[in-house]
Symmetry: C2
Subunit: 308 residues, 2 copies
């Protein structure tokens, strides 16, 4: 909490499983924050207005003219109001030009568009929320590569301060489905973190596919290495995690067309640590993302929209 800064923006990072709300000063200072397990799937009866009023009402009632903005799955078909998708490449201006307002008793709440891209196969890909984190992480004119690990990991190529292209990898959700709902979980006797088994999995997953089979084949190694006692039961979960993250990195490197020198890892600490370790095994340096990147991105978008 900061006392001597004037509040300028209410910013919400409202995703599938959690809601993070920030009261921001004009330079991005976080004056107050709230985090609640009120992701769009948890909000009862779709009463987004009720949750909104309860969480940000105390801030907005003191300053009725203060703008409010949000990003994430709150703008999806299952959210409060469906917001559009901005096509790649796009930066602050394109997102600021396509905000979707929701009228509330506390004034308008503006939702940042998601982004879409057509991949090299001609298939659409989408994200909601990550675009804002990226634009909070990378300033105008910057270039770089970022990964946002999670249920659906996103890899993003940033060019001249804009999002050039991105790709989704279902690593986290596929890991959970394979561990909990296939034979691979049968030999697992715990989920303790095992760095050595994780590293072995990363190395195995990141090998080139030619002549060796790809992921559908390699997944089975989680069973056979367990059967032949080459990886202990308590380490098999770490092995599978490494195998899938290693596969994701190999796919992402192919997607980028080159191994990047450096990747920004934007996400929670535990999962980010695994990605940092996995990237290091591929000799790729990584840097942790800015804390509260979404809040900084929302402020930049609000500024570009001349709301602040």
């Amino acid at each position: 909490m900061i006392e001597n800064v004037a509040p300028r923006l209410v910013a919400l990072d409202w995703g599938t499983s959690s809601l993070r709300a920030y009261l921001l000063g004009g330079d991005g200072q976080i004056i107050a924050r709230a985090e609640e397990p009120q992701g769009i799937l948890q909000v009862k009866d779709g009463d987004f207005a009720g949750v909104y009023g309860r969480i940000v009402g105390p801030w907005l009632r003191r300053n009725a003219a203060m703008p409010a903005i949000g990003c994430g799955m709150i703008g999806s078909r299952q959210g409060w109001r469906e917001a559009s998708y901005a096509a790649c490449p796009a930066g602050l201006d394109a997102l600021a030009a396509a905000l979707t307002p929701v009228e509330t008793p506390l004034g308008p709440f503006r939702i940042v568009p998601g982004m879409n891209v057509i991949d090299a196969d001609g298939v659409p890909d989408v994200m909601r929320g990550e675009e804002t984190q990226i634009l909070g992480q990378f300033g105008p004119g910057q270039n770089g590569v970022a990964v946002l690990p999670g249920t659906h990991s996103k890899w993003v190529l940033v060019e001249d301060g804009r999002i050039g292209r991105f790709a989704t990898f279902m690593t986290g959700e596929a890991f959970a489905a394979m561990k909990d709902h296939t034979i691979l979980g049968r030999l697992m006797t715990g989920t303790a973190s095992d760095a050595s088994a994780f590293a072995r999995g990363v190395d195995h997953g990141a090998k080139p596919p030619d002549g060796r089979g790809g992921l559908l084949h390699r997944l089975f190694s989680t069973r056979t290495l367990g059967l032949f006692d080459q990886v202990k039961g308590e380490a098999l979960s770490s092995y599978l995690s490494g195998l899938m993250i290693g596969s994701e990195i190999a796919e992402a490197v192919a997607w980028l067309g080159r191994a990047p020198d450096r990747v920004s890892v934007i996400g929670g600490a535990a999962l980010s640590d695994l990605y940092v370790a996995a990237l290091a095994r591929r000799s790729i340096m990584s840097a942790p993302g800015t804390p509260d990147a979404a809040a900084q991105g929302l402020l930049r978008i609000a500024r570009a929209a001349k709301l602040v």
Copy 2:
């Protein structure tokens, strides 16, 4: 049922989810057969001897000297008696030399070993039962490539009548886990077979990974093509099935080092039809497997062991 042939062998294909028993003549004629949902996971309290006696007792009690042999997961750690693995390459003689006998009141029941191989990554792979189907399908001196589709699909390279090498792909089980336990199932509104969506999935899964991302990325297309109404909800299950079978074929072709001219597809009719259709999209001819290949393989192994 054949009346005029003398029974020479009791042959059991005893897998994870079903038991198929055959009473065979000396030339492989099927004199009688029984099929029950008594796979090793369904046998109560591990009473394999009870199930065995009930199903093959009527045959063996009429002819106490008749040999009995079986293959499949009945020889696994979770089965009746753990049988060894024969290492690749191996054929009839190697398997016949490594039978594991179980003493029963009806005489010895001999279990065919599984097979193992070390893949190009240095990781073991295993199968139990498929080796016997293959040796029933391919005669001495023959060469070829076979796929046995299923929960864990096996691709097998047959060289000079022996199993040269093989690889497991977790296609069937990964498909079920992704469909039933991830976001991909959310937009599915049925599981009717849709040939056009299946073909689109095959084509997408079989594309080369470079620059396009691999399976972890492509899986997400099942969601985005649904979101953007490019594939209807009732066809998304077929699309995902095609995507995964197409990925398996691409991995298997890389594993073989070349696209084979012709593949024998050994399995149940519905799944085999999907593989035949998917292989055709890659311009690979396919031939259906011999019916009851396991029974023929068991007879050949029994002959090689001089039991018949």
